[in-house]
C-alpha cells in the first residue's frame, strides 16, 4: 500500500488530509516530560510487546539509527512530529503496513496514536484509530481517571485525548480577503486554525489546519460532528468564493493560474515557498476546471516529495541551491506528463 498522500480522498478540492490522533499514557510511569531513560525504555518495551501480538502489522522505524534528514522526511510526511524527531529521550515510532496509522512512543505523551487519510475521511479515520486503540487498551494499562477519562501530560488533551485535524486549501478565502473573518468565526465555534507553513493568513500555499480545541466533556462522536459542521461551512464558503472570483475576475484569474502552471512546468530553480504558492494556484486551477491534465494527488505527492528533507535524504543533496535545482527538475517531471 502507498503512503496516504499518494491516494485519493473525498472533498479533495478543499480538504487535503484528515488526521486523528489519540494521546494515551501508561499507568505508573512518569510522563515523558518527567521520565528518565529507563522509564522511557520500559514504555517502548511495553508497547512493542503489545504490537507484536497484533494482527495488524506495524513496522518499527529505527529512529536512533536514522540521520536527521531521514527523520525529517517522516515529519514532512506527517508520520511523526518535529518533537519526536529531535527528542533526546529513548523514543520510537511504528507505522502500519497500510501506512495509515503511526504510533509515536515518548512524544509529549507515552503514546500518540495517529491515523491519516487523504481528503475528507472522518468516518474511516475514526473507525481505524478506534480499532487500534481498543486493541492496545486490552494489552496495556492506560492511565485512566474515573472522572476525566484518559490522562495526558498536558491538561489541554485530557478526556478523549483526541485531536482531529483537517488540512485545507483555502485559496479563494485568502484571495478574497475573507480569511480573517472566516477564521474568527471558526474560533467562536471552538475550533483552532493555524497556517501549515507560517503564521495566520501568510501561510505559504494557502494551506491551513483546522482542529478541535477541547477534548473533555464531549464524546468522540460529538467532537467529530461539531468540527465536521465547522469544516462544512468553511468548505462551502471557499467553494462559493471560488465561483465568485472566477465569475468576477475570470481572465485575470485564469492568467495567474496558467502562469503559475507554466512556471512549475518550466522553471530551473525553485524554492520551497515559491513551489507552495505556485502549486496553490495550480490546485485552484484544477478546481475551476481550467487545468485538466493534472490532479490533486499528483500535487500532494510532489509537494511532499520535493520538500527539503526529502530531497536531502533521497538524493544526498545538502546545499540549498542544489536542492532548489533538484526541486525544479522534479516538478517538471511530475507535471509534464
Amino acid at each position: 500500500m502507498a503512503e496516504w498522500f499518494k491516494e485519493h480522498g473525498e472533498k479533495d478540492d478543499v480538504v487535503l488530509s484528515t488526521r486523528i490522533r489519540l494521546a494515551r499514557n501508561l499507568k505508573g510511569i512518569p510522563f515523558p516530560n518527567k521520565m528518565n531513560a529507563d522509564d522511557a525504555q520500559r514504555g517502548i518495551d511495553l508497547v512493542e510487546g503489545a504490537l507484536e501480538e497484533m494482527n495488524y502489522t506495524f513496522t518499527k522505524v529505527d529512529l536512533p539509527s536514522m540521520s536527521q534528514a531521514e527523520k525529517q522526511k517522516l515529519v514532512e510526511e506527517r508520520y511523526i512530529s518535529p518533537n519526536l524527531a529531535s527528542s533526546s529521550l529513548p523514543c520510537a515510532a511504528y507505522i502500519s503496513e497500510d501506512q495509515k496509522v503511526s504510533i509515536m512512543i515518548n512524544e509529549e505523551d507515552h503514546l500518540r496514536i495517529q491515523c491519516i487519510y487523504a481528503g475528507f475521511e472522518e468516518q474511516k479515520a475514526l473507525e481505524l484509530i478506534g480499532r487500534v486503540d481498543d486493541y492496545l487498551s486490552e494489552k496495556l494499562d492506560y492511565a485512566m481517571h474515573e472522572k476525566y477519562g484518559y490522562l495526558t501530560s498536558c491538561l489541554t488533551n485530557v478526556g478523549t485525548g483526541m485531536r482531529i485535524s483537517y488540512m485545507l486549501h483555502l485559496s479563494a478565502t485568502v484571495m478574497s480577503g475573507a480569511a480573517d473573518s472566516v477564521f474568527a468565526a471558526v474560533a467562536k465555534l471552538g475550533a483552532t486554525v493555524r497556517g501549515m507553513y507560517g503564521e495566520g493568513t501568510k501561510s505559504a500555499g494557502n494551506l491551513f489546519q483546522i482542529s478541535n480545541q477541547t477534548t473533555l466533556g464531549r464524546s468522540e462522536a460529538e467532537i467529530a460532528a461539531s468540527l465536521g459542521e465547522t469544516l462544512g461551512s468553511i468548505i462551502s464558503k471557499e467553494r462559493e468564493l471560488r465561483a465568485k472570483l472566477s465569475e468576477k475576475k475570470g481572465l485575470i484569474l485564469e492568467d495567474r493560474i496558467m502562469r503559475s502552471y507554466a512556471i512549475v512546468r518550466s522553471a530551473r530553480i525553485m524554492q520551497s515557498k515559491e513551489m507552495m504558492d505556485r502549486l496553490s494556484d495550480v490546485r485552484f486551477g484544477i478546481g475551476l476546471g481550467i487545468i485538466d491534465d493534472a490532479d490533486y494527488t499528483t500535487l500532494n505527492d510532489i509537494m511532499i516529495c520535493a520538500s527539503p528533507a526529502h530531497i536531502s535524504a533521497d538524493f544526498g543533496i545538502d546545499g540549498a541551491v542544489e536542492r532548489d535545482v533538484k526541486r525544479a527538475e522534479m516538478l517538471r517531471e511530475a507535471l509534464n506528463r
Partner: protein, 167 residues
C-alpha cells in the same frame, strides 16, 4: 501569590516548616488553610506566631500537602505555570487545582467519551451502576414501583457480574 494548594485563590497565610534541615514554604488561601487544619474553622485567624506554634506542635500536621507529587516529584508550582503534569498520580495529588484549571479550558470536567481496557470498562460499569441507583431512588420517591423493580433487577444483575469479574 496564589494558594499552593488550590491554585485559585490568593494566598494570605504563609508558613515555614523546617524538618530534617530542609526548609519548606507553604502559601495558602484561608479556605485551604482551614481545610488542611492550619487554622480552626470557627475561629478568626490567630496571630502568625500562634499559628506557627500550633503548626509545629500539632502531631498530625499535614506537612507539604500537595506540594510535590510523590511518584514523579512534580511541584504544584510547575503544574500551575505550565499546565503540564508529570504522571497519572499528579492528577490525585493536585486534584483541586487540576479541576479548576480544567474548568477554565474545557467545556466540562466530566469525560463523556469512550472508556476502553480493563480500567475503562470498570469505570463505565461503575458509572452505569451509579446512574441506575439514582434512577431507582427517584422511582421509589415517585412511587413508580414497577419501574423500581425493573431497575433493582438490573442493578442486581450488574453487581453479580462485577462480583464474577473481581473473583
Amino acid at each position: 501569590m496564589l494558594c499552593s494548594n488550590c491554585g485559585v485563590k490568593d494566598a494570605n497565610f504563609h508558613y515555614k516548616h523546617i524538618s530534617g534541615g530542609q526548609l519548606t514554604e507553604l502559601h495558602l488561601c484561608s479556605d485551604c488553610a482551614k481545610e488542611l487544619g492550619y487554622i480552626k474553622d470557627s475561629d478568626a485567624p490567630f496571630g502568625l506566631g500562634s499559628l506557627f506554634g500550633d503548626f509545629l506542635s500539632s502531631p498530625k500536621a499535614p506537612s507539604q500537602t500537595a506540594l510535590r507529587c510523590p511518584q514523579c516529584s512534580t511541584s504544584f508550582d510547575s503544574v500551575r505555570r505550565t499546565g503540564f503534569l508529570g504522571c497519572d498520580k499528579c492528577y490525585e495529588v493536585f486534584s483541586k487545582p487540576v479541576e479548576s484549571m480544567l474548568a477554565k479550558i474545557q467545556p466540562s470536567t466530566v469525560h463523556k467519551g469512550k472508556l476502553s481496557g480493563a480500567d475503562g470498562k470498570k469505570i463505565a460499569r461503575d458509572n452505569t451502576l451509579k446512574n441506575l441507583k439514582e434512577e431507582l431512588k427517584r422511582a421509589i420517591i415517585d412511587e413508580k414501583y414497577e419501574q423500581a423493580a425493573v431497575l433493582r433487577d438490573k442493578i442486581k444483575e450488574l453487581e453479580a457480574k462485577e462480583g464474577e469479574n473481581n473473583g
